[in-house]
Each structure stands twice: as C-alpha cells, then as structure tokens.
Point group: C2
Chain length 176, copies 2
Amino acid sequence: MDELQEARERLVNGLGRISDFWGFGKIMGQLYGVLYLSPEAMTLDQMATELGVSKGNVSVNIRGLERLGMVHRSWRRGDRKDYYEAETDFWKIVRDIMKEREKREFDQALSVVQETLDTVRAIGQRAPSEEAQFMAERLARLREFFDTLDKLAQTFLALDELRLGALEKLRFGLKR
Amino acid sequence: MDELQEARERLVNGLGRISDFWGFGKIMGQLYGVLYLSPEAMTLDQMATELGVSKGNVSVNIRGLERLGMVHRSWRRGDRKDYYEAETDFWKIVRDIMKEREKREFDQALSVVQETLDTVRAIGQRAPSEEAQFMAERLARLREFFDTLDKLAQTFLALDELRLGALEKLRFGLKR
C-alpha cells in the first residue's frame, strides 16, 4: 500500500478514537481527518468510499461537523453534487463555538438558573423550609460556577483579539 | 403542584437542554439536575420515576455521569440497591477531567500526530512530492494546535493549584 495513504489512515483512525471518546462518535473524527488531509474538496460518495461506510452515515456526521464550523460546503457550476472541505484554522473553530454557539446556550442556562433561584428564594421568604434553603444554596453555587465559566470564555476571547490585533500591527509594520 | 417541585423541574429541563445541545443527550443533564437538587442519595428506580423514563435508560446515562466524575455511587448496609449522589464541587469535576481523562487522550492524540508527521517527513525526504509536502504542513499545524491546547490545560491546572494553595494557607492562618 502507498506509504502516504498508510500514514493518512493512521491519523484518520486516531482522530476517530478521540472523537468517539468525547461522545461525538468515531465517524465524525474520521471524516474531519479525511478532509483535513485532502488537498481537494470531496463529495459524500468519495468520503463514503474512503471510510468504507454508507453515504447516509457520512451525511449525518458531516452535518454535525458543519454545525461546529469544522467543515464547509461548496458547489461547482454545472455539478449537482455538494463538495466539502475542512476548516483548517483551529482557533477560528474554537472562537466561533465560544462566540456563537456557546454564548447563546450559556445565556439561556444562566437565565434558567437565575430565574429558578429567584423563585426558590421568594418561596423561602413566604414559607421558610429546609428544602427551600437547600435548593437556594445549590442553585446559588451553580450560578456562581456558570458566571465564572462565562468570564473565563470572555477573557479568552478578549486575549485572543488582543493577540490578533498585535499580529496585524506587526504585519502592517513590516510591510511599510 | 408543589412550587418547589415546579422550580426543580424547570432547572432539570434546562440542564437537559444544555446536555442535549452538547451531544450528551437530554437524560444525562436531567439526571444530574435531579441528583444535584436532591438532599438524599437516590436509587435508579427513584430517578426513573422522577423523570418518567425507563430504569435501563437511567442506568446507561448514570454510567456516563460516573465516568465524568459527576455522580458517585454508594451502598447502604443490608440494602442491595445502589444509591447515587451528585458531585457538587464543579471545579473538581473540571480539574479531574483535565487531569486524568483528557490528559491520557491528549498524550495519545499528540503521539499519533507526531508519529504520522515523522513518517510523512521521512517519506518526503526519500521521495519528495507535493502530496507529502502538503500532508507534512497540515500535520505540523495540527500538532502545534494540540501542543497549545495542552499548554493551556496545564496553565489552568497550575493556576488552580496556586489558588487552592492560597486558600488553604488563608484558612490555616485564620485558625491559629
């Protein structure tokens, strides 16, 4: 077998294991690996052949990767098939997930916890009970944890912007 | 309906949505919510009744939570049933996942990428080709990304230890 193909398969299987371990399933990691190491965009059929799995299986998993911003779809004029390629900027993937996906979910989660805490505290004031006290304490700790995670994400994004800004300036300086 | 029960259900459903969104399934988040807001350890049967799902479904999902260190199992003398309670120290959960679970996977992932990169570079030196060049570049970028993630996790753990150390000292100081 082609030595490069052998190396490619080793990486693809490695990414499959990590992906499976984190609960996304083996195929999702393998698909990203196949696209990441392909110089050309690929069709669903090509990926199915490469991995030896059904086109339906590829299709489901590629949608998962699209939602995470890890692959992009493109079209070719006069060709009805969809083509896929890997997003190769890993920090962009992390950043986008933190900015969009995570942010929306976080805000929702935070407000559910806050609302429940408000309700439980109001109940506890009207009719004090050990149960209400217990729930209020646990909810307050959960809110504090979510708050801190949110601040960490915001700090990461702020630092990342500073770093990018600094790099841009450096490049601009070098050009002049 | 009991107002506190209503508040509890709102939080449980909120955690279910977040858990589902992140690919762990709704039940896993709901189960953690039920245990987190319960002052007593609970059996599989009690959790199944509380959520209105099968005991088998609860059993599968509780094992997932156990693997993540988010719930702990306990036994009672003369009682054959398993009891479960929530781990309530969120930073401990994050820390343990980073230290054990993630660390092992990371080391494996890093070495797969490094080995593949070495192989591809050796092939490229023996028989230079655009393909080998392309793969070596992509693999080098992937390794760099994994390296940085690893450093970030280590920095987080080091900062966390410093903070804990400082808190311990403070407590010790107050006691004297």
